[in-house]
C-alpha cells in the first residue's frame, strides 16, 4: 500500500475496526476493504455502484458477474482483483470453468451470450475508442438483451475504476487461502462501504 494512512486507518475507530475484522477473519484485512473505510464520504458512491452492479437485480448470476470482474482485472493486469473476484466466482461456478475462461474465454465452456458479452467488455476495457454499434449488435444477436448488456457494461465500468486504484495504491496480494476467506465475506456482504 503506497499510502500508509489508508493502510492503518485514518481514525482510532477505523484502526480498531481494521484490527477487529482482521482478528475475526484470521488474516490481514485486504486493502480493498481498507480503502472502503478511508475517506468514506468521498468514495462511497463507487462502492454503491459496484455493489449494485455486482449484487443488484440482473439476469446475470453473481458468479457470472464476478467472472466478468475477474476478466476486466485480467485485461488490466490487476493481480489483486483477478485473485479476489475469481475466488468469489469459484463459490458459484466450477473452478475449471473460471480457469479456462481466464485462459481463453473464446474456447471456455460458457454460454454464447456470456462469451459475446466478454468480447464486448474486452474491447471496452482495452480499446474503448474503437467500440461501435456493430460490437453491441454482435452481443444482441447472441441473445443478450439490451438490459443485460447494460448490466455487464456497469460491471466493467466499475472494475475499470477499481482495478486502477488497486494498482495505483499497490494493494498487497493475499495468499490463495486468504482470497478464499475474503471471498466468503464478499459473497455475504458485497461491496457497500
Amino acid at each position: 500500500m503506497r499510502l500508509p494512512e489508508v493502510e492503518r486507518g485514518s481514525s482510532l475507530g477505523n484502526r480498531l475496526l481494521i484490527r477487529f475484522i482482521s482478528t475475526v477473519m484470521r488474516m490481514r484485512l485486504p486493502d480493498a476493504a481498507r480503502v472502503a473505510f478511508y475517506h468514506k464520504d468521498f468514495g462511497r458512491p463507487i462502492g454503491a455502484w459496484t455493489h449494485a452492479a455486482m449484487r443488484g437485480s440482473s439476469t446475470w448470476t453473481i458468479g457470472e458477474r464476478e467472472l466478468m470482474a475477474a476478466m476486466v482485472a485480467k485485461w488490466n493486469s490487476c493481480e489483486f482483483c483477478v485473485g479476489a473476484h475469481s475466488a468469489v466466482a469459484a463459490k458459484q461456478l466450477a473452478r475449471p470453468t473460471i480457469d479456462q475462461t481466464l485462459a481463453d474465454y473464446r474456447a471456455a465452456p460458457i454460454t454464447n451470450g456470456l462469451r459475446a458479452t466478454l468480447g464486448f467488455l474486452e474491447k471496452m476495457t482495452s480499446h474503448p475508442a474503437d467500440l461501435s454499434a456493430e460490437d453491441a449488435r454482435t452481443v444482441l444477436r447472441a441473445g443478450v438483451t439490451s438490459e443485460s448488456l447494460t448490466d455487464a457494461i456497469a460491471v466493467a465500468s466499475a472494475f475499470n475504476i477499481v482495478t486502477r486504484y488497486a494498482d495505483a495504491l499497490d494493494f498487497a496480494i493475499p495468499s490463495p487461502s486468504e482470497f478464499d476467506r475474503a471471498g466468503d465475506m464478499l459473497l455475504k456482504w458485497g461491496y457497500r462501504s
Binding site: 494512512e5 464520504d41 454503491a48 443488484g56 486502477r164
Partner: protein
C-alpha cells in the same frame, strides 16, 4: 440475485462523477476534473499530476512508488493524494461507461 428492481446505472454513474469530481474535498474540483479528463484521453494537466494520471489511465499496474510519492508531497496530505488517484481511476471508468452505452444506444437506434 434476481430481485424485481434493476439498478439505475445511469444515476449511479452520475453519483460517482458528482462525488469524486465535483464535491468539496481536500483537493479542488478543478484538479480532480483535469486528472479525470487526462485518463479519459484529454489534454495533459500540470506536473506532477499529469504523469500519475497518464499512468493510471494507460497502465495502472506500472504505477511506481515515486509517482505516488511525488503527488503526495506536492499536495501535502495522503487524503489529497488519495482523491487524485480515485479521480484518475474514475475518469478512465466513466469514459468506458459513456462509450459502451453510446455503442449500445446506436445499435438499438439502427438494428441491422
Amino acid at each position: 440475485m434476481h430481485g424485481s428492481t434493476r439498478p439505475d446505472h445511469r444515476a449511479l454513474a452520475e453519483a460517482v462523477r458528482r462525488a469524486v469530481l465535483e464535491a468539496p474535498a481536500a483537493t479542488t474540483p478543478t484538479l480532480r476534473q483535469a486528472v479525470a479528463e487526462r485518463t479519459a484521453g484529454g489534454p495533459p494537466t500540470e506536473p506532477p499530476y499529469d504523469e500519475l494520471a497518464r499512468q493510471i489511465g494507460d497502465a495502472a499496474y506500472r504505477t511506481t512508488d515515486a509517482q505516488v510519492a511525488t503527488v503526495r508531497t506536492a499536495l501535502g496530505t495522503e487524503k489529497a493524494a488519495f482523491e487524485v488517484i480515485l479521480a484518475a481511476a474514475v475518469g478512465a471508468g466513466l469514459l468506458r461507461w459513456r462509450l459502451a452505452m453510446q455503442a449500445l444506444a446506436e445499435a438499438n437506434d439502427a438494428p441491422s
